[in-house]
């Protein structure tokens, strides 16, 4: 790193740091204070690791978002009573005065099919119920906490995705991953602190789901793509060899150095270091993305095939990323929005994700990484215990389930959460929580807590206001902490 960079900081960086650490730059921004901070080396680089508010349980996060929302009632929240009453009109209070996305006439109840493929199994020592659709996950039940009572406030996909991931149902706020990266920095300076991996189409919220909102754009997620350049513009243009690239960067930096010695703007020193990092990324990212180096046992465990685009490959990449100190890895897997034919489609999607996710937990555990890595299975909402029989245009379909915001299940593993624990309870038909509801803000507060951050103190001042991921809400769900 260039010596000048150590001495000086980027204006913005300093400013943001000061705001965050509670030194207002209001009427009394003190130049001497800036320099003191600089001298103490608190944040020469916006992504350098930051101290936590209290000891962290988890260092990194692998956040798996099942886009469209899986049918939690057929996977985690077993409801024999619902099965029994399948076909009955739902209780009036499930329908009247409620806003539903697709259902427009009082619907009937829809239980999980009475079929061995869909049967629930008592798993692990805790005996928690997991569907036979997730046979691999059943084997790691003792490593996970299932929360059955997550509630959200939005029932359309894009707003609910934004609400879950940014704490606000409209655009403009920073995403969870960027809050975390802003709060904690990154352990690996050769890779972005927040990496996004996608299978299927991009979710409705678009890049805002991993955007940085009003925090600096260095904290936004960087998508690692499975086709083409893994990071945009990573590879050299045709005819530029690695040797040429090195020489070109040397020349750029050499000329920048000449100019720096004239105008002395610290920003030039920063740019010099960024070109060095870009060069390092040209090697480190392809190396990271190349899963050929993994053993056959690992490939068998995950069901990975090098060179393919698959959720399994992304799970393995997630492990490789946290292994290298990437702070926040977010997987999006599209295709879970089953308004029709839920019992045909759910087994197919489960098959794609079950083995790799269980493999990821086992592999992390094997490597001693699970303790410090929080793995989250989540979605923007759940699905109704009522049947949906028509699609968006009003045509009849095989039974599916509509969007459901009152209660749904997510699970977490590793990173300081209990294993083999079920939190909260929904009513016998799975409509609403009856015990221990967990609001999306509570969930986010808890994730930040596991990372050693007080969600009320992780703030960013914008437009005169201290913004938080959890707005003015959120309680840490202490019962799930190990």
């Amino acid at each position: 790193m260039h010596p000048a960079q150590i001495k000086f900081q980027q204006d913005l960086t300093r400013r943001y740091f000061l705001q965050k650490s509670g030194y207002g730059i209001g009427s009394c921004a003190l130049a001497s204070l800036f320099l003191q901070d600089a001298a103490a080396g608190t944040r020469e680089n916006p992504l350098s690791p930051q101290a936590t508010d209290f000891p962290a349980r988890a260092k990194n996060v692998i956040y798996i978002h099942l886009v469209g929302a899986p049918s939690h009632l057929d996977l985690f929240d077993y409801k024999p009573e619902l099965q029994k009453r399948t076909g009955e009109l739902c209780p009036d209070e499930f329908f009247e005065g409620k806003k539903l996305a697709f259902i427009r006439e009082q619907p009937t109840l829809l239980g999980t099919p009475d079929d061995k493929d869909f049967k629930f199994q008592s798993c692990g020592q805790s005996g928690m119920q997991i569907s036979n659709l997730l046979p691999h996950l059943q084997t790691v039940a003792d490593d996970i906490t299932v929360i059955k009572t997550v509630t959200t406030e939005q029932f359309n996909h894009a707003p609910a995705q934004l609400f879950l991931l940014t704490g606000f149902g409209q655009f403009g706020r920073p995403s969870l991953g960027s809050w975390v990266t802003y709060g904690l920095g990154s352990e690996n300076q050769n890779l972005p602190g927040f990496v996004v991996l996608i299978t299927g189409q991009v979710l409705g919220a678009g890049s805002s789901a991993w955007g940085s909102g009003f925090v600096p754009t260095v904290y936004q997620g960087v998508e690692f793509r499975s086709q083409g350049d893994p990071v945009l513009y990573l590879s050299n243009p045709d005819g530029v060899s690695p040797g040429s690239r090195r020489d070109i960067i040397d020349a750029v930096n050499g000329l920048n150095q000449v100019h720096f010695s004239d105008v002395a703007d610290p920003e030039i020193a920063t740019r010099i270091s960024q070109y060095e990092m870009a060069y390092r990324m040209q090697t480190s990212v392809p190396e990271l993305m190349d899963i050929n180096s993994e053993s056959p046992e690992i490939h068998k465990l995950y069901g990975t095939e090098p060179g393919k685009t698959s959720f399994a490959n992304n799970c393995l990449l997630a492990r490789r990323l946290v292994e290298r100190g990437v702070r926040f890895v977010q997987l999006f897997d599209e295709g879970w929005d089953m308004h029709g034919g839920v019992f045909n489609n759910l087994p197919r999607k489960c098959k794609q994700v079950d083995q790799p996710i269980a493999a990821l937990l086992k592999d992390l555990k094997e490597r001693g990484l699970l303790d410090e890595t929080l793995v989250v299975w989540s979605s923007e909402f759940g699905r109704t215990p009522m049947a949906q029989g028509k699609n968006g245009t009003g045509a009849m379909t095989k039974a599916g389930r509509d969007h459901h915001k009152e209660a749904y299940s997510i699970w977490m593993a590793g990173g300081g959460v209990k294993g083999g624990y079920v939190h909260g309870k929904t009513d016998e038909l799975g409509y609403a929580p009856v015990e221990k509801p967990v609001h999306v803000h509570d969930l986010n507060a808890t994730i930040l807590h596991l990372l050693g951050m007080n969600h009320e103190r992780l703030t960013f001042k914008y437009q005169g206001r201290q913004f938080r991921l959890t707005d003015v809400h959120g309680h840490v769900v202490r019962e799930i902490l190990a």
Partner: protein
């Protein structure tokens, strides 16, 4: 803590100006010369600003939590609940004020709702108390500075009048004088030209412009340059970008189903408004309420696109009203930020905590914007589409004429259609009666077969039911010819039934295969015989109970013997086919019909048993679905049912069909002529009722409110209509001090990289106070007093000595003022995303100057546009000059904005962006180094270096590269670096000739001719790549 004090109203004795001046002095001394603290602490200079920022929002004029108003002297010197004095004069360690802000033992550290005070601030308060806590009577509880009227300040005196170029310099220099700082020397002229060009038009000067300017010694040289730049059409393209960020202008809906929609005419309006120097007050009025202006022009209506840029969720199952309310929220919040520098959002749910805006204020503003229609439309079930008011863009006169001709034609046709429909009314009624009376079957009658022949040698016999059973030989192919008579008075249709029979192998109806008992009726030909001459009967409207795929029944009357009607898969079942006669016939006594059934498929796929029937009824009665027949029988029918019947009837009306064909043709022509549209605001005829929404929830309306300006500004306010136009007129009036301040501050920020109020987005109490409040007010009055002329204000700024200073950092300045808040040096900051690109395009010689029109799609990597949603738009990379157009014209899809701009901090424009961050990342390096668009630009620069240099020497060419890229000569050291690279690249290219092809092949069609030595170009490509990546190249310095 409870304090009971009857406080007297304090008088506001001091003028704001004095106060502001003091504030500035406080800031200056605190921020830049800590040594100033050797002196005593002053209440107004040092203490009050701290209280105002941290305490007054809960313990001030608007709120007195715990009964405490720290804004009042009597209260501040009172005691808390415990009896402990709040301010114990001379004893900070025994003052509750200090305890509560610094010591957690006394409870949660204040302020509870925000960041803690800094140790410096606490130190100031302590020292003030220790020094006697002098709180002068004269200290006013003034309003926050930003809400005070704008007063035009006098120009402050300065030590060196000679440095002054424009009045701006007075304010900067007098401040520097106070600080004991010297301004930096002038930037050299070439660099100033580059700075001012990038600042005003976002493009670098050409080497020729640099030469000309540097050699122009006239006193007006700078002014002429500035006038040229201000008059350039490129000016609007540069300044529009920041405005479009504020206006959250994009080309798509956002959310799921992020489809494209047209409002680019609004983007062009902004560019053109800047270019015309439209007075800023009009600029504001037209965007907020152009539609409400008397006799609004097309342009004024287009301008209202400003508030039609809001995101819109059209995913299935969305609730339109919720969507609409969210859009109005966005309009109110954006209006607050853009025109008032105020974040209104807090007041959506409750009174603003920091700034003097109540929840009622919020919904009174909301009421101005609440009278627009829903913007999603239900298309089916719970499926919605984006819609909402749009207008057609004005057309060329010739096209407009042609269009009105066609429209007239269409109107005429529609009239004809109506007439035809009316004329057919009687027929329709008759048809209904017929439908009621009989079923179709009653009008079918088997014909009398008077003669029958086959060509395949089969035998046959007629059965009781008048069918003909074929027996005997099964030939490969055959033709049956039946001569038939009918008793019917007229014949309108003929039918052949292919029947099963136990005597046919496998029961039939086909003869050739007992299992797959298919037949193929190749042609069905009817001739009237027995008259003067035989007459071929034209058949039409073939129908059948069933047809095999690719063997549909119309093929039996298509004249092609290789095609035909077959019934594959539906074996062993009877089938029928029916053919209408184009013209009904009557058979005279001696006339017959000769019906040929050609069956030449082969392998005995022939009919085993058939019956022929004739139909005498109205063809309209054929195939009437059962439900319609039933409807016809009903005494009462709903409108929808009546329509269903009439539609069925109309479908068979040949005259109507002819008119409809013409209508379609004209409509097609009209569609081709249809002008593009753009989204605009319209006011509904019936205004909506507006209520305060409790907690911002649209399902929880509270008290009703009417449109009104914020209460803060109501005293002494003039009369304005209670609509958007009235509100806009108030915004631009002298009653609103915010607009002019916020606006000039933004322009300053655009030129200097930061505002005089650093928080350009927040002029409230939590924002930064201005570094130069008097300059801010001077600029604001200058704007107002010069007919809101933006170009006038910009000219005053860019011609100043302040703007002309060298941007070199010195160790002293780095220490004293690292952020350049005092402007003792010139601005230096990285260019905006769009300017990074435009600048590189200009340097490469590729930049297109084409303006306006639909958004363009230059190169971007595959797979960026792949979000969920219907009719997902496709990225089609432009193959023409469009790919070299300025960034402002690039399509902006909110779910996935243009990647190379995103690398440089371009937002997704899903919400109002008052200020982009300015980061410095490795992704930026990768973009400039490797993005194929930049690689092509590097090739463009290569070409220029090789062709434009004064001679062929490497030195000249390198120097030319510097002239083009950064408007200056190369330093010897720089030449050395690039020459070294050039030599090693020459070697590489020589050793590996395919590099030549690869590097020079980066270009796409439309690239200028590469009429240079290709091998040299390949080596120079690396040099060009370097020049486009320099920090200096992407920096305005």
């Amino acid at each position: 803590m409870k304090i009971v004090f009857k406080t007297a109203r304090l008088q506001s004795g001091k003028s704001l100006q004095v106060l502001l001046g003091l504030l500035v002095a406080a800031l200056g001394s605190l921020a830049f010369s800590p040594s100033a603290f050797a002196g005593s602490v002053d209440f107004e200079k040092h203490v009050q600003p701290i209280l105002r920022q941290h305490c007054y929002r809960c313990h001030g004029e608007t709120d007195d939590k715990g009964g405490l108003r720290l804004s009042r002297r009597e209260a501040a010197f009172g005691t808390g609940d415990s009896g402990e004095p709040i301010i114990n004069v001379g004893k900070p360690e025994e003052s509750l004020l200090i305890h509560r802000i610094a010591d957690a033992d006394y409870g949660d550290v204040m302020p509870l709702d925000g960041e803690a005070l800094s140790s410096q601030q606490i130190e100031i308060l302590k020292r003030w108390i220790a020094e006697g806590a002098h709180w002068p009577d004269s200290a006013a509880v003034s309003r926050h500075w930003a809400y005070e009227p704008i007063a035009r300040p006098d120009l402050p005196g300065v030590k060196h009048e000679g440095w002054i170029r424009t009045p701006v310099d007075h304010f900067i220099l007098s401040r520097l004088d106070e600080e004991g700082l010297e301004p930096a020397p002038d930037q050299n002229r070439a660099s100033w030209l580059r700075r001012v060009s990038l600042a005003l038009i976002g493009l670098p000067p050409s080497p020729e412009e640099v030469d000309q300017f540097v050699n122009d010694n006239s006193a007006d040289a700078e002014r002429e340059v500035v006038d040229r730049l201000l008059a350039s059409p490129r000016f609007g393209e540069k300044w529009a970008v920041g405005w479009l960020d504020l206006a959250r202008y994009a080309d798509s809906n956002g959310f799921q189903a992020d489809q494209l929609r047209d409002s680019w005419a609004y983007r062009d309006w902004v560019i053109s408004a800047y270019n015309q120097n439209k007075p800023f007050d009009e600029f504001v009025i037209e965007q907020l309420a152009g539609d409400l202006l008397p006799e609004a022009t097309a342009d004024q209506r287009i301008a209202t696109g400003f508030h039609r840029t809001v995101t819109c969720n059209v995913e299935a199952g969305v609730h339109p009203e919720e969507n609409r309310v969210n859009q109005v929220f966005d309009r109110v919040n954006t209006t607050g930020t853009v025109f008032m520098g105020t974040s209104m959002e807090c007041a959506q749910c409750h009174d603003h905590k920091y700034d003097p805006f109540s929840q009622t204020d919020y919904y009174q503003l909301f009421a101005y914007f609440n009278n627009t229609p829903l913007e999603v439309k239900q298309t089916a079930g719970v499926t919605y589409d984006f819609y909402g008011p749009s207008m057609e863009l004005p057309m060329e006169p010739e096209e407009a004429d042609r269009r009105s001709e066609l429209q007239a034609e269409l109107a005429e046709l529609k009239q004809q259609r109506d007439q035809r429909l009316k004329a057919a009314d009687a027929d329709y009624e008759a048809w209904l009666t017929d439908l009621r009376g009989k079923t179709e079957e009653t009008d079918w009658q088997p014909v009398n077969v008077v003669d029958f022949k086959t060509t395949g040698g089969e035998t046959w016999r007629e059965l009781e039911d008048r069918s003909i059973l074929i027996t005997g030989k099964v030939p490969h192919t055959t033709t049956y010819t039946a001569t038939v008579k009918s008793d019917l008075p007229r014949v309108t249709a003929l039918r052949i039934e292919a029947l099963t029979h136990p005597e046919i192998a496998g029961n039939g109806p086909g003869r050739g295969d007992p299992v797959r008992s298919n037949f193929i009726l190749s042609e069905f030909i009817v001739t009237k015989t027995g008259g003067e001459r035989d007459q071929k009967i034209e058949l039409t409207a073939a129908a059948a109970d069933y047809s095999q795929t690719r063997w549909e029944v119309p093929k039996a009357i298509d004249g092609d013997p290789s095609t035909g009607w077959a019934i594959g898969q539906e074996f062993q079942k009877p089938h029928w086919a029916r053919f209408q006669l184009l013209k009904p016939i009557s058979l005279a006594e001696d006339e017959q019909l000769q019906i040929e059934m050609v069956q030449n498929y082969g392998r005995g796929r022939t009919i085993g048993c058939f019956r022929l029937s004739a139909y005498s009824g109205d063809p309209l009665l054929l195939d009437v679905p059962e439900d319609l027949q039933k409807l016809a029988g009903n005494k009462k029918r709903s409108k929808a049912e009546e329509k269903k019947l009439r539609d069925h009837f109309n479908a068979a009306d040949l005259q109507l069909a002819r008119i409809d064909r013409q209508v379609k043709a004209v409509e097609k022509k009209l569609n081709a002529l249809a002008p593009p549209t753009t989204l605009v605001m319209v006011e509904m005829d019936e205004p909506r009722k507006t209520c305060v929404l409790n907690r911002g929830d649209y399902l929880s309306p509270g008290k009703e409110v009417s449109p009104a300006i914020p209460a803060l500004f109501q005293p002494g306010a003039g009369e304005y209509p209670e609509n958007r136009l009235g509100f806009a007129r108030w915004l631009v009036s002298n009653e609103n001090p915010l607009l002019a301040r916020v606006t000039v501050n933004r322009w300053w920020a655009e030129l200097f990289g930061q505002g005089l109020v650093v928080t350009t987005e927040d002029f409230g109490s939590q924002g930064e106070p201005p570094t130069h409040p008097e300059l801010l007010d001077w600029l604001a009055s200058e704007l107002r007093e010069n007919d809101w002329s933006m170009k006038h204000v910009l000219r005053e700024i860019v011609l100043s000595s302040t703007f002309r200073q060298s941007s070199r950092f010195t160790p002293e300045l780095l220490e004293r003022d690292p952020k350049n808040l005092l402007y003792a040096r010139g601005p230096r900051f990285r260019l905006k995303a769009e300017v990074v690109r435009d600048n590189a395009l200009a340097i490469s010689g590729l930049l297109s100057d084409k303006m306006a029109g639909p958004p363009v799609m230059p190169y971007q990597p595959d797979g960026i546009w792949r979000s969920i949603g219907r009719n997902q738009p496709k990225w089609v990379t432009a193959k023409d000059e469009d790919r070299f157009r300025r960034g402002v014209y690039i399509v902006w899809k909110r779910d996935a904005p243009y990647t190379s701009l995103v690398s440089f901090d371009a937002p997704d424009r899903t919400a109002c962006v008052p200020q982009r961050p300015r980061t410095n990342t490795p992704l930026q390096a990768l973009t400039l180094l490797n993005d194929p668009a930049y690689a092509e630009m590097a090739l463009g620069l290569t070409l220029r270096m090789l062709k434009e240099s004064t001679d062929d020497s490497d030195h000249s060419r390198i120097n030319r590269g510097f002239e083009i890229a950064v408007a200056r000569d190369a330093r010897p050291k720089e030449v050395e670096v690039l020459y070294g690279l050039l030599q090693s690249e020459r070697q590489r290219v020589k050793e590996d000739p395919k590099l030549v092809e690869q590097r020079t092949g980066i270009k796409l069609p439309g690239f200028p001719e590469m009429d240079v030595n290709q091998q040299e170009a390949a080596a120079w490509f690396a040099v060009a790549n370097v020049l486009l990546n320099l920090d200096e190249t992407v920096t305005q310095e």
